[in-house]
C-alpha cells in the first residue's frame, strides 16, 4: 500500500514538471503578451514603441524562453507562484482569495449530488423496469443533456427575476460574511451545479448497483436466506460503492477549477471565474498557475481515489 502510494507520487512529480513545461511552452505561442493587455486598445497606438519595449524588458518578457521557464519553475518550487501580469498581484494571493468561494460551491455540489445521486440511483436500480425508474432515468438523461449555462440562466430567470426568491448572483454582501449569511447566494448556483452533477452520479450509481446486483454472490447471499435489505445494501451496494467512489473522485478536481461556466453565469467569484478572466486577458502566469493547480488537483485526487478504492475494495488493497 505504501509502495503503491510512493509509486503514484513518483509518477505525479515528473508529470507535473512535464505539464508545467508544456503549458509554459503553449502559452508562449499565443499572440500578444502581457504588455499589450495592460494597455487599452483605444490608446495603445498613442504609446511610444520605446516605452512598450521598456515595459516588456521590465516584465522579463524579453529573456529567452528556456531561461524564463526555469526562473519561473524555481520560483514555483519555492512556493512563489509569481505575479499576475495584469495587476502585479501575487498569484498565491489571488488563488487563496478565490479558493474559498470555489470550495464552498463545489463542496455543496459534490455533497448534494453524491447523496442524492446515490440514493436515487440505488432506488432506480432496485425498482428496475418500473415507471419510477424510467422517469428517473429520463430525468437523469435530461440532466446530462441540457447545457449547464442554459439551465443556470433559466433558473435565474425563474427564481431570481420572476419570483424574486433568490439573488441573481454574487457571493458576498457587505456585512454578511458568515457562511450562513451567504446561503441565499449559494442556493441557486449550488442547486444548478448539484442537479447537473446529481444526474451523472445517479446514472452511474444505478448502473453500478445493477451490475453488482447481477453478480453471482448476490445469489449466494439469497441462498443464505438473508433479508432483501441485507442483500441489496450490505452485499449489493458495498460492491457498487467502488465505481461510485471512483466517479466522485473524478469530480474532486472541480474543487480547484470550479465549474467554470456555472461560476460565470452566477458571477461567483471563484477560481473558475478567475481562470476565464485570465484566459481572456492572456495573463500567462495566472492561467498557467491555475491550470497547473487543477492538474495537481486531478493527480492528487486520482491518488485519493486509488487509496479510497483500495480501502473499500480488498482485492485492490491486497494486491
Amino acid at each position: 500500500m505504501l509502495t503503491f502510494i510512493i509509486r503514484r507520487l513518483l509518477i505525479v512529480f515528473p508529470m507535473l514538471i512535464i505539464i508545467s513545461f508544456l503549458v509554459y511552452l503553449g502559452l508562449e505561442l499565443t499572440p500578444g503578451d502581457a504588455v499589450s493587455h495592460m494597455i487599452n486598445p483605444e490608446i495603445a497606438n498613442q504609446i511610444s514603441p520605446e516605452q512598450l519595449l521598456a515595459l516588456r524588458e521590465n516584465l522579463g518578457l524579453n529573456k529567452p524562453f528556456i531561461e524564463r521557464y526555469f526562473i519561473w519553475l524555481s520560483h514555483v518550487l519555492r512556493g512563489d507562484f509569481g505575479h499576475s501580469l495584469s495587476g502585479g498581484v501575487a498569484i498565491s494571493e489571488i488563488v487563496f482569495d478565490r479558493l474559498p468561494a470555489t470550495l464552498e460551491l463545489s463542496f455543496v455540489a459534490i455533497v448534494f449530488s453524491t447523496i442524492f445521486g446515490c440514493v436515487l440511483g440505488i432506488f432506480g436500480a432496485l425498482n428496475k423496469g418500473t415507471w419510477t425508474d424510467s422517469t428517473l432515468s429520463v430525468t437523469g438523461m435530461l440532466g446530462i443533456s441540457i447545457p449547464e449555462f442554459f439551465f443556470g440562466l433559466v433558473a435565474i430567470l425563474l427564481f431570481a427575476l420572476h419570483l424574486h426568491w433568490l439573488p441573481v448572483g454574487g457571493r458576498l454582501l457587505p456585512g454578511y460574511d458568515s457562511f450562513f449569511d451567504r446561503i441565499p447566494h449559494l442556493v441557486l448556483p449550488g442547486l444548478v451545479m448539484s442537479l447537473m452533477m446529481t444526474a451523472g452520479v445517479m446514472r452511474y450509481s444505478r448502473s453500478a448497483m445493477l451490475d453488482s446486483l447481477s453478480r453471482e454472490f448476490i445469489r449466494t447471499a439469497r441462498a443464505k436466506g438473508l433479508s432483501e435489505w441485507r442483500i441489496n445494501f450490505i452485499h449489493g451496494f458495498r460492491v457498487a460503492l467502488t465505481p461510485v467512489v471512483v466517479l466522485i473522485g473524478f469530480r474532486l478536481p472541480i474543487m480547484i477549477g470550479g465549474s467554470v461556466i456555472i461560476e460565470q453565469v452566477f458571477q461567483w467569484p471563484g477560481i473558475g471565474n478567475e481562470f476565464v478572466f485570465a484566459v481572456r486577458g492572456q495573463d500567462y502566469p495566472l492561467v498557467m498557475m491555475i491550470a497547473l493547480l487543477s492538474v495537481f488537483a486531478v493527480l492528487i485526487s486520482s491518488l485519493v481515489i486509488d487509496v479510497l478504492t483500495a480501502l473499500i475494495d480488498p482485492r485492490i488493497r491486497l494486491n
Binding site: 500578444g32 499589450s36 495603445a44 498613442q46 521590465n58 448572483g169 467569484p269 478567475e274 478572466f277
Partner: protein, 514 residues
C-alpha cells in the same frame, strides 16, 4: 504590386453610401445612437453642411463600378468589442456591403489588440503593417484635438496621412484662440468629410442611470466616463429596512484598482476617492478648483498656478501638499501608457524633456511654493486645464519612490489611499468594495452613509441582474441593450448624456504585404 483599393476615395465613399446607418441606429441601436457625419461630435465646433453619405446603394454601386472594384475579394473586418451588439452590427454591415458587391468576413481581434490595430509600418516601407482591411472601432477623446491627432502621418498604418493633413492638424493644435481653433477644426472636418480618412458611423451616447432611492439634490448629469462636478457630497439615499443609508454601484475591481492616470474616471473608485486640482462641468469644461482654492492662467496660456486649499489630508491622515502635486506629475511622465491628453500636457511643461530623458532630478517648469504650485509651459497646450481637471495627484509618501514601469503593480492598488470625499473601508476583491465618507474631507462630510460597489461593468449581464435585484443605485453605461432593459425597470431612471465618442470604420489603405 497591387494597390489597395480601399485607398481609392470612391470605394470608401461607396462603403459609406452602402450602409444604412439611419436604420441601424433606429433598429439595432434602438434609437440610442445618432448617425455620424464626421469624427467630431455634434456641437459648436461642427462644420456646417457636411455630407452625411445617406443610404444610397445605387450610388455606391456606381462608385464601385467607377473605381473598378474587384468583387472577387473578401475584406477582412476586425473589431474588438466582445458584446452581442457589435456582433449584430457586423451582421448588418456584412449584409449591407454584400448588397452592393463588397464581400466581408468579420472576426474579433484577440491577444495584442492595440498592436494589431495600430501597428506602424516600418519606416520607408510602402506596405501596411496590419493585416485587416477594415476595423470597426471607436474614438473617444477627452479633448476634441484627440479626434484628429491620430491622422498625422507616421502615426499608424491605417491613415496614410499627407503634408496637407499634417498641416491641417497642426493648425488645430497650434492655438488657444478659440476662433482660430474653430476654423481649423471646420477645415479639417471638411477635408475628412470629402476624403473619408475614417468612415464615421454613429455617435454613441452615454447613459447615466440611477434608482429611485437616490436623490441628487440638484447635482448635474454629464460625461460619466470622466470626472465632473456631480455634487456627490449632497446626494442622499433612502434608508433600507435596517435603517442604513447605503447606495450600491458597480465597477468594483476583480484583482486590483485601476490607476486613474489612464482612464481617469472610468471606475467609481477613481471618481470618489480622488480629488483633482480642478473640477469640470458635465461637458468636461474645467470650471473651478477642487483641491485648488483658486487658479490663474497667464495671458499667453504658457503658465498656470494653483493655490491649494488649507489642511488638505490624504485618507491616511497625511497632509496633501504641493510636492504631492509636483511629484505626481513627475511620476506620471515616466509611467507608460497614461492618458494621451495628460501626456501631451506634461510633455509641454518646461524641462519635461530633460526630466524624462533622465538628465535632471526634477521638472524645472513645476514650481512649488508653499501651497502654490505653478506650471510653466514650453509649448502651448490648449488642453492643460482639462488635464488638471482630470488628473488626480497621488500620495507621494506612498508612491514617491516606486518604479514607474511597475506603477500598476504596486500593492498600493490593492487598497488605494486617496483624497476624495469617500475612502475605502473594506475591499473583498471580486466581491465588493465598501466606501465610507472621509471625515477630514475639505468640502465637508458626504451624506450617503456608505457606498458599496460590486464587480460588474458596462456590457455586463450582471448590471441588469444587479439592477433587477435592487443592488444598483447609480452608474453609467454606453450599452444600448442595458439602457433599454434599465428603462423597462420601474425603479430605475436613465438619463442620456452626449459624449465625444464616435464609432467608425478604419480603412487599411496601404497595400498589404504580399
Amino acid at each position: 504590386e497591387k494597390v489597395n483599393q480601399l485607398s481609392d476615395v470612391r470605394v470608401r465613399q461607396a462603403i459609406a453610401y452602402a450602409i444604412d446607418m439611419e436604420t441601424i441606429a433606429d433598429t439595432l441601436l434602438e434609437g440610442k445612437a445618432i448617425a455620424a457625419d464626421s469624427m467630431i461630435p455634434n456641437g459648436a465646433w461642427k462644420a456646417p453642411g457636411l455630407d452625411n453619405y445617406g443610404y444610397n446603394p445605387d450610388k455606391a454601386r456606381a462608385l464601385l463600378k467607377d473605381a473598378g472594384w474587384d468583387d472577387t475579394q473578401t475584406l477582412d473586418v476586425v473589431y474588438y468589442y466582445g458584446d452581442q451588439l457589435t456582433a449584430d452590427l457586423m451582421v448588418a454591415l456584412q449584409a449591407y456591403l454584400g448588397d452592393v458587391g463588397i464581400k466581408i468576413t468579420y472576426r474579433k481581434l484577440e491577444g495584442d489588440v492595440g498592436g494589431q490595430l495600430g501597428k506602424l509600418a516600418t519606416a520607408g516601407s510602402e506596405t501596411s503593417a496590419i493585416e485587416w482591411d477594415m476595423a470597426y472601432g471607436a474614438k473617444a477623446a477627452l479633448a476634441l484635438q484627440e479626434y484628429y491627432n491620430g491622422y498625422q502621418s507616421g502615426k499608424n498604418s491605417y491613415s496614410p496621412g499627407s503634408a496637407q493633413v499634417d498641416k491641417l492638424i497642426s493648425r488645430i493644435n497650434g492655438t488657444v484662440n478659440v476662433k482660430e481653433q474653430k476654423q481649423a477644426f471646420v477645415d479639417f472636418e471638411k477635408y475628412e468629410n470629402k476624403n473619408l480618412t475614417d468612415i464615421p458611423l454613429y455617435y454613441q451616447q452615454l447613459f447615466v442611470y440611477e434608482s429611485d432611492r437616490i436623490n441628487r439634490h440638484g447635482g448635474s448629469y454629464g460625461n460619466e466616463q470622466f470626472n465632473y462636478d456631480w455634487g456627490l457630497l449632497d446626494w442622499t439615499v433612502e434608508a433600507d429596512k435596517d435603517g442604513k443609508r447605503v447606495a450600491y454601484t458597480n465597477t468594483a475591481p476583480s484583482q486590483f484598482f485601476e490607476h486613474p492616470w489612464l482612464n481617469p474616471g472610468i471606475t467609481i473608485q477613481q471618481k470618489i476617492t480622488f480629488d483633482r486640482l480642478l473640477t469640470a462641468d458635465g461637458s468636461l469644461v474645467p470650471t473651478k478648483g477642487q483641491l485648488a482654492k483658486s487658479f490663474k492662467v497667464s495671458k499667453d496660456g504658457m503658465s498656470v498656478s494653483f493655490e491649494l486649499k488649507k489642511d488638505l489630508k490624504w485618507h491616511d491622515g497625511f497632509d496633501l501638499t504641493g510636492s504631492d502635486v509636483k511629484g505626481s506629475v513627475e511620476l506620471a511622465m515616466k509611467v507608460p501608457g497614461i492618458n494621451a491628453v495628460f501626456a501631451k500636457t506634461f510633455e509641454s511643461i518646461e524641462g519635461a524633456q530633460d526630466y524624462t530623458s533622465g538628465g535632471v532630478k526634477g521638472v524645472s517648469g513645476i514650481v512649488v511654493d508653499g501651497r502654490k504650485v505653478t506650471f510653466n509651459f514650453a509649448t502651448l497646450d490648449p488642453n492643460m486645464l482639462l488635464t488638471f481637471s482630470q488628473f488626480p495627484p497621488l500620495p507621494m509618501h506612498l508612491l514617491g519612490s516606486v518604479n514607474p514601469l511597475e506603477f500598476q503593480q504596486q500593492s498600493y492598488w490593492q487598497n488605494p489611499v486617496g483624497s476624495g470625499p469617500y475612502k475605502i473601508e473594506e475591499v473583498q476583491m471580486n466581491d465588493f468594495v465598501r466606501y465610507t465618507p472621509f471625515a477630514d474631507y475639505h468640502g465637508g462630510i458626504a451624506k450617503i452613509g456608505e457606498i458599496v460597489s460590486f464587480p460588474s461593468g458596462e456590457n455586463d449581464a450582471n448590471v441588469l441582474k444587479n439592477a433587477a435585484a435592487g443592488r444598483l443605485d447609480f452608474g453609467f453605461t454606453k450599452s444600448v441593450g442595458d439602457v433599454k432593459a434599465l428603462e423597462a425597470m420601474e425603479n430605475m431612471k436613465v438619463v442620456p448624456a452626449d459624449i465625444p465618442y464616435t464609432r467608425s470604420l478604419r480603412m487599411n489603405s496601404y497595400p498589404k504585404k504580399p
